[in-house]
Symmetry: D2
């Protein structure tokens, strides 16, 4: 490991990069974490950077990410910039000897991701990737039950996801497509809860919004998974949910089953003529409010303790490989073994 | 005990008295019970009696209840006539040496009830009273958990009941009032699940429908219970529920709690804009469909086995006493000890 | 249509064939249906036939199915015999001019099924196949919501099924395999709720019990469906569920989603140290008790009304075709278009 | 109204008084609220004060509450000290011209409370009392539905509360008893959701822990409420819950009913042999985590907007009056009209 050392575990200096919508949420969350002291907030747009500085009660703002990363008061860099910049900024932060928390993915390209992973291995610096679901109390408890053997041998995995709001055309073009942008969360859960996947077979459809087809993407998909341990799985996806953010995950084994689902947002039921209703979460920020906080708390606690954060770059690499295999299966209309995906895949 | 003996336990001859709405439901249910063979159906209205004969596939119909009771092919009499006739018909059947299943109550008057109980004790004949909730799988399981000690010492009881449809004016007048007609089911559950009650204190209100006040009754009530074993309880009542039949029962102890509630009728949830809904039961016949069948099955099985059916006349007596105490507490605006109710109470 | 006519709609004469475990349940259910009068019960084993006669309060029993079918008092034949005899008995009943209710499938072989369907078309007799889920209140309501347009355009279908108890070795050998014996219920629901399927792709695994692999079958499977209307679907299957009978069905559209699931059997929750529990159904007979009754009621009501029962032989044919396509996809490791399955498929 | 004005609404200076267990939680919550800048943390124990300063990232700590209150940088005082000091500290802060957020109650004594309310009226300063349930999303939505008329005329109210952990002997002695310390939350909800109460009748029991009886208190209680608008209500209480923090609130009206209950903590169900389980909240801090944040956010937003915070001292006064009436009813074994409680009541 590297010589990385936190100077003051009770006041870890942070450079925060990227003040978009989710960035502002993260800044607010960080403001409530005692050990994090935001030194500098960076955004290409100086006004956004300044707004971020206020939310995060940071010392200063800048439009220059490298300036922020290399600030000597900075121990850890938090990267919430557009996906296309992740690899470059992670590399810069690694070269500057900083700890890193970055939104997933490292990159949409396997080669580029592998290059970053190689550099990370060299430096041995603490890097945590933003798969926030791994910190949701439901998934945490599911993993614990599985690891403790309570479910017996795992036989089936299922993840269902529908997003409330559809992305705009630019996002559709740049996101890597529905398998890499959306199902990737479920692929990561599959790996987190059941283990590595050997083979996938995916089907897609365009029945929701013509913009996806126009962008060479699908708006609806289903992917079968065959895990190395013999279990079967399925990941279902739709880009639109009229009724709100809708995700459900199930893991069944020889002794038991767990279902993770937050179908009710407010602790209230309302009875009316011959029925009752409860409300759904509107979108992922309200569904995963607790998880966002928990993942940052885990990151800073791990830094303070000198441990290795998880999930790390290798998880980003393997989850990307799985998503690329699913995409390839859809494109080539055939089952794809995950280990076929060893280099740049056609897009 | 009497010399009562079933001739053919696989084909018990039945006289069925009273073909009203609930009577027809019971006839249909009985038709599905193998050991019950309906010999004769009686109703004051010969056309109703004949209709009942068809539903129950009985041998004959009659407008004379005594004719039906004394039919030599009849082993057991099932009484589903208006409340005011229960005591007379039970007495006639006891005198004819028949087994009896009767809708509750025996009577609305404690003296009359006590007289029937005395006759029943003399004859030793099998008599079961129609407190159907005691046969609902939820209450059955609750009782079993309580008896097995799983809940520890019982500390709290709560029953909540709202009826979907309000009775007509005649029924309001003849029913004995909301405490005797409606809360009586919850008072019986209190005794079934927790034990005997020492003292009650009841409040009533008229905020739903002026016909109740006009009939000297309340449409909304709450009754506090102090059980002999020290537990406290509460029974809440409303004569009207816009959202469907709504009952919920809770028993809490030092080690655990049970809640019996069938809030969802159809096993379906429907998600729509930012919420989901499920449906309530419309009324008691759909909520207790299973219980109605189970109580008849228990009755005929007990007859076949030569056992003593339960709940019997003494339960009807004690539950009536409890309901009368609550009514008296409301009327006299003071707590009433249940053992104060030893004779005719003022109405 | 044929000249089929019910003589007395209030007393339809029934020949009941096959007194196994489910047969006895059906006899009990029929005994509670007013319009059904069981004339004769047949079983190869005369003792079982006689036992069935008692349960169904039939006039007589016989060990000769043809004798029962041709009894002149018989209007309708109910077939609950082993699968391998269904086609022959349906044909015999059609030739005798009787109405028929038969457990699914007609046969495990597409050619044989098609032959029976052809004969049925010729005779025009009322025939209803025992896909009982179509009569479960949950699925009925789901279909109604879908047909009324409340869910908008249908986009996704999902069915999950795990059976509590594993079949014995003989059953595994004779049942046609997990796709034809178990997933067939979900394939039928897919057709019932969403419409015809164009293409399937199935994976199987053997991770539960080696007897399935020994019998040339799988114990775990997942099948992707592409519907003609563009929707995607998935059917998941396991032959064993430690936690009880576990089925869940979901249909999602552009405006809403329905979930059919009866996860709670008894209307009771039990709170203990930091948690609460509720109970699952043990097996399909308790989960579908209401549906079994409803499908018989629908059959006799349709006969009385002179209508055409549904689901009929063509549903059996199309659902079998779909199951065979899934089986073939698993065997040949490739997606299979349902219209490829036009003749005997390899087994 | 007073001349109170916030100097910088984006950075409101705070004096935080009282660093106990709940104090530390509040400090952490405040650290995540952008507009709050903790200037000084006070606690009688300087070490605790210093620990609070760290958590709250405050400028300084002190063991002198008055020093903190009168700090010129302080706009608002947050009082989380023992109940017996609330009145004195609120008065000191009012005299110093500061905005106040205080844990409830103002005092356990009606006269003392009335005196503080009188001073508050004179000063017109913004004061918010810590009835956090009013900020829970469930209660907020319930109130909105009630106010909008969706439930029609309100007919019934019910609140059920059981605390997980029992207080220690000193707390039992000083807390004012179960009605004032625990049921007071439900009395406040009754007022928040339904309106003012006219009359109460309460029963208590000692069946959980002898220390309550020894302290002149009850460990189990039930209180009937008659609201001024004619509705009936009931408040149930137990000091101990083996299965976790258990509160449930119901409001039923002529058109609908709402139930507020957070029975499931983690969004996970675990299926095992013939049943499934989910987990309860352990205690009020995890049940009301969101509400604690929301009440502080509302306080600072109201200060920034120049509005009048709610619930204010008058709510504390009226809710105390209601709790005292219930206590008196239990002590005197008779119904008590709430307006009887106009002065010091016997204890």
């Amino acid at each position: 490991m590297s010589a990385f050392e936190i100077r003051d575990p009770s006041s870890i200096g942070v450079a925060f990069l990227g003040v978009g919508r989710i960035g502002r949420t993260h800044l607010q969350t960080l403001a409530g974490i005692g050990a994090a002291r935001i030194v500098v907030v960076a955004d290409l747009d100086p006004a956004e950077a300044e707004r971020g500085r206020e939310i995060g009660r940071a010392e200063r703002s800048t439009s220059d990410a490298v300036d922020a990363i290399t600030d000597p008061k900075v121990d850890a860099v938090i990267i919430v910039t557009p996906t296309s910049t992740h690899a470059t900024l992670i590399e810069a932060a690694l070269r500057a000897g900083k700890a890193i928390w970055s939104e997933k993915p490292i990159a949409l390209d396997l080669d580029e991701t592998a290059r970053v992973v190689a550099l990370w291995r060299e430096t041995g610096l603490p890097v945590q990737m933003g798969f926030m679901r791994r910190f949701d109390p439901g998934y945490v408890r599911a993993r614990r039950l599985i690891e403790s053997g309570e479910l017996g041998r795992i036989e089936q995995f299922r993840a269902y996801s529908r997003d409330t709001y559809m992305p705009d055309a630019k996002f559709i073009r740049d996101s890597g497509g529905s398998f890499l942008d959306m199902s990737v969360h479920d692929f990561d859960l599959a790996r987190f809860l059941v283990g590595e996947v050997e083979e996938v077979s995916a089907w897609g459809a365009n029945i929701v919004d013509p913009r996806f087809e126009a962008g060479g993407d699908v708006d609806t998909a289903v992917t079968m998974l065959r895990f190395r341990n013999g279990a079967l799985g399925v990941v279902e996806m739709s880009r639109h949910s009229e009724w709100g953010y809708d995700i459900r995950t199930e893991v069944a084994g020889s002794l038991g089953k767990v279902v993770i689902e937050a179908d009710r947002k407010t602790p209230l039921t309302w009875s009316r003529r011959f029925g009752f209703e409860a409300d759904h979460h509107e979108n992922f920020p309200d569904r995963f409010e607790v998880a966002y906080r928990a993942e940052f708390e885990a990151f800073f606690r791990t830094l303070a303790d000198g441990g290795t954060p998880t999930p790390g770059p290798e998880d980003a690499l393997e989850t990307l490989r799985l998503a690329l295999a699913a995409k390839q299966s859809w494109q080539e209309r055939r089952p794809v073994r995950v280990d076929e995906v060893t280099a740049e895949v056609p897009t």
